[in-house]
């Protein structure tokens, strides 16, 4: 079964993150907690971070939403873990460019996240993909 144009959106790796989310749950002793939702559709994320010495030591998420929002959250926690705060924010800016279909800085390896490139072609779904990143940015801001 195939819907050809949809295969650019629903890549295998996205579905894998959706079905087998990485870093799902909450950090017991995390120092940053953010709840964010997408009021137009009901997607929500509960993100906990452990930020120490300017580095995101640990990142976990819980939430409820579509494949794109949950896969993006899973990928985001995976890629920011161990990064210093500035790099994490830089990654978020790159991801935002990617979603807007702009040229983006490819000097930083975003790993699985590249698979989300196709979302840019589905404007109604961009907010799904950016929810977790916005939460992460807000969390680091609060720090």
């Amino acid at each position: 079964m195939s819907f050809n144009n949809l295969d650019t959106l629903y890549r295998q790796v996205i579905m894998d993150h959706y079905k087998n989310p990485r870093n799902k749950g909450a950090i017991e002793d995390g120092n940053v907690t953010i709840d964010m939702n997408n009021p137009t559709c009901g997607d929500r994320i509960h993100l906990t971070l452990d930020v120490k010495d300017g580095v995101v030591q640990q990142a976990k998420f819980d939430g409820d939403g579509c494949s794109i929002s949950m896969a993006s959250a899973s990928m985001m926690t995976q890629v920011v873990k161990g990064q210093n705060v500035d790099t994490a924010l830089k990654m978020s800016a790159i991801f935002s460019d990617m979603m807007l279909g702009k040229e983006y800085d490819d000097s930083i390896d975003l790993g699985d996240i590249e698979a989300l490139q196709g979302v840019a072609k589905f404007p109604a779904r961009i907010k799904c993909a950016t929810l977790a990143w916005k939460a992460m940015e807000k969390g680091i801001d609060q720090q």
Binding site: M1, L6, D64, G65, S67
Partner: protein, 409 residues
Amino acid sequence: MNVNEIRRQFPILDQEVNGHPLVYLDSAATSQKPLSVIQTLDEYYRGYNSNVHRGVHTLGTRATDRYEGAREKVQRFINASSTEEVIFMRGTTTAINTVAQGYGRENVREGDEIVITHMEHHSNIIPWQQLAKATGAALKYVPLQEDGTLSLEDVRETITPNTKIVAMTMVSNVLGTMNPIKEITEIAHENGAIMVVDGAQAAPHTKVDVQALNCDFFAFSGHKMGGPTGIGVLYGKKNLLNIMEPIEFGGEMIDFVGLYESTWKELPWKFEGGTPIIAGAIALGAAIDFLEEVGLDAIEEHEHQLAAYALDKMAPIEGMTIYGPKDPQKRAGLVTFNMEGVHPHDLATVLDSEGIAIRAGHHCAQPLMKWLNVSSTARASFYLYNTEEDIDKFVAGLLKTKEYFSDVF
């Protein structure tokens, strides 16, 4: 009812979306517009665009006649006892807020109660939350039955002599439940409360007779019934509108303006501050003409048939949960559901790639989503221009989506 003939009146339906003929199943969010409505807007702006109720020139008179003529159409459409009871507003939201502020602030006190239900749209929840907060009144919810209907027993238990306002939807935008408004209004009145009806999902689909319902206020939107966006109606009983203060002050609604004091025009104009929604109101009149020509009874019957057909085709799909009353005669023309293994947003995206437009999300009813214990649902809603063929395509799309999502894992 000749659906093919009706479809020809809706030019938007004749197009391809993502390479497929458009199947529009989101009329509960907003309906499509018949040619007559589009032409009415065009004629107004090309031929007699002018402000109303002022000046003596010919275009102004023409615009005023048509604007007030539209009010007469609305009066007949809902069987109000006079045009003084028909106020043009932006939509249902503005209408309910006007009652909450204009009537509520003066007549609700600490210790009083406002009663709504768990199936309300946000526009019939938040104005009452705000009123309750401002006055110290208690906001109470009538619980729902397992099948998403209200029991009159629960209604009787929730409404008490302390209740000042009962506000309920006539048709749920999520469950499709049709509430017994007439009976609930009686209970409200026995307890000395007024009855406010959210008619946004009712007026487009079923005959409304505000005098038979005996409700005190009735709000609806033009854009869900073939009219343009930005126009709606607040019906109110004359005696209540007379004691209500306007909530918008300015031009158009005044009688005499002094330096420190002013007086208001008589009904209905005292509630229509500023230049009114002239083109919108006239085009709403055209939408009413259109619906009445087809016949509200025929439209309602057609939607029941479509809902029954859709329920029949959807129920056997494995992993399908359908919300609301199971009996198609007890529900309006919409089906809200979830399909196991596919999130509603993903479902809506996949169907869109097949040219099928449905709604996914919380449908502006977060408390109801909580009651259903889901974060979001998918909804297909039907109107007079939909066909069984539309539903066949939709159901085929559901099956393909299911297969697609099971394949990729």
